[in-house]
């Protein structure tokens, strides 16, 4: 191995020290579970000036309920999102269950997913559908809250400034059904060919969506949300008209801007998105009609 190569290993023990380290070394690459970062290091794809190990920063691995919202630290691994938050964040928990393998879910974090900002990251669609906000911080300018929809700025690019770190994400506990669906070649160890998340917000008569791995960034299907929010029979809880489900699927498909790549073609991705949108809507609407949340397909 390349013992001679120059790289620092920064190991702050507190959040304040982590922010100071990032300010002093803007080129340092934060590492949490390592499930993305170490792949790039092992394969020589990336050689940052320093690794900034955030594992010792204990508060990042905590979550809390604050004023009716959940604040989930950037270092909470997927296994704990599933076990501890699955009832309150069913869409994110479903997505978390599809991440890698047990070993990967033991280490990987939503914070890491946000840092990597891959269009295929599994946590992004449910964060978008649930209207999450990302709490980022720098030593110089303090805290910024960034809506998830504004956080992803390009392929593997996010809204973080070089001196900023992701502290947590904020989201409301589910007030209605949430579902996540993902296409891949097997159930484990799969990077999404494409993925879709839906969240019903019955109190606001609003629908949230998130489209994954089908555009340069994860994104909402805004026109689909608007259409469906107006069409659904929120109070009467009547059956879902087939024409509405179909139109919703079409609008989700139109929101995507996929490419052909090794995992699938653009055409296939568009088709699959329309199917997943209709399917997850049917699950969610059936739950809403039955007065339950997140019962099916979990």
């Amino acid at each position: 191995m390349r013992d001679s190569e120059d790289m620092d290993f920064l190991r702050p023990m507190t959040w304040e020290d982590a922010l100071a380290a990032k300010a002093a070394h803007p080129g340092a690459l934060p590492v949490q579970g390592g499930t993305d970062v170490m792949v790039e290091i092992n394969f020589d794809v990336r050689r940052p000036e320093a690794l900034l190990d955030l594992n010792p920063v204990r508060e990042l691995a905590e979550w809390d309920a604050v004023d009716g919202r959940l604040r989930v630290g950037a270092g909470v691994p997927y296994v704990r999102v599933i076990a501890e938050l699955g009832d309150r964040l069913p869409g994110l928990a479903q997505a978390s269950r599809t991440v890698g393998s047990p070993q990967i879910r033991n280490r990987g974090t939503v914070g890491g997913n946000l840092g990597a900002a891959s269009p295929a990251g599994d946590s992004h669609p449910p964060l978008l559908a649930g209207g999450a906000e990302i709490e980022v911080e720098s030593a110089a300018r303090g805290v910024r809250m960034i809506p998830a929809a504004d956080f992803y700025t390009g392929v593997k690019r996010n809204a973080l400034e070089p001196d900023e770190l992701v502290r947590a994400f904020w989201t409301r506990p589910a007030a209605g059904p949430q579902y996540f669906s993902k296409i891949g070649t097997r159930n484990a160890m799969v990077i999404a060919v494409c993925s879709f998340a839906i969240a019903l917000h019955p109190g606001e008569r609003r629908v949230g969506t998130g489209v994954g791995s089908a555009a340069p960034t994860p994104r909402r299907a805004a026109a689909a949300e608007e259409f469906l929010s107006a069409e659904l029979d929120w109070e009467g809880r009547g059956p879902l008209p087939d024409s509405v489900a179909r139109r919703f699927g079409d609008l989700v498909r139109e929101a995507a801007a996929p490419i052909d790549d090794v995992r699938g073609t653009a055409d296939y991705r568009r088709h699959a998105l329309a199917v997943m949108a209709r399917r997850t809507l049917a699950w969610a609407w059936n739950d809403h009609r039955a007065g339950t949340a997140g019962k099916e397909a979990s």
């Binding site: 390592g34 170490m38 394969f43 047990p102 033991n106």
Partner: protein, 163 residues
């Protein structure tokens, strides 16, 4: 850099660790513990699985420096008596892998043994679905997995009987 950690119950100090190297590399190449295998280096195959503070992880995706001050348990540390001198007795999971014929080329075995060991610790009587889910991140290209499932069921029975 220097890394201090506990490996299989023994406090160790490792010098001249490259800042970007993995825990797997440090274990295999600097600490004489080649049990954890290096195959994919991207978390796909599970053959490098070790316990990190009691939680199974792909050691190829843990930076060596992240193990500072922490406890690592590798496949070498599963057998009874493996942390000290004297006779060693294989863990029931290891015995079951041998008896059930769950080992062919053997390359995936250490990772599967550690991951199965963790499953049975957490879920003493796992269903087939739970076994398959627990081992979903461990690839074997020889056995077709059936003998491995047999081994895990056998190990779970043995451990339950011994309790």
């Amino acid at each position: 850099m220097r890394v201090n950690l506990t490996v299989n119950g023994s406090k160790e100090t490792v010098d001249d660790v490259w800042e970007g190297e993995s825990l797997l590399y440090m274990l295999r190449e600097r600490m004489g513990l080649p049990g954890s295998k290096n195959a994919c280096e991207q978390g796909e195959c599970g053959s490098c699985t070790v316990y990190l503070d009691g939680v199974p992880a792909c050691s190829c995706l843990v930076a060596a420096g992240q193990a500072e001050g922490r406890e690592v348990r590798t496949v070498e540390g599963l057998a009874e008596g493996s942390t000290g001198a004297g006779d060693q007795r294989l863990d029931p999971v290891q015995e079951a892998f041998v008896e059930a014929g769950a080992v062919q080329c053997g390359f995936c075995t250490p990772g599967l043994v550690v991951q199965s060991h963790d499953l049975i610790e957490r879920v003493p009587d796992p269903s087939d679905a739970e076994i398959r889910e627990a081992l979903a991140g461990n690839l074997c290209r020889c056995t077709g997995y059936e003998k491995i499932l047999d081994a895990v069921r056998l190990a779970a029975r043995r451990k339950a009987a011994a309790r």
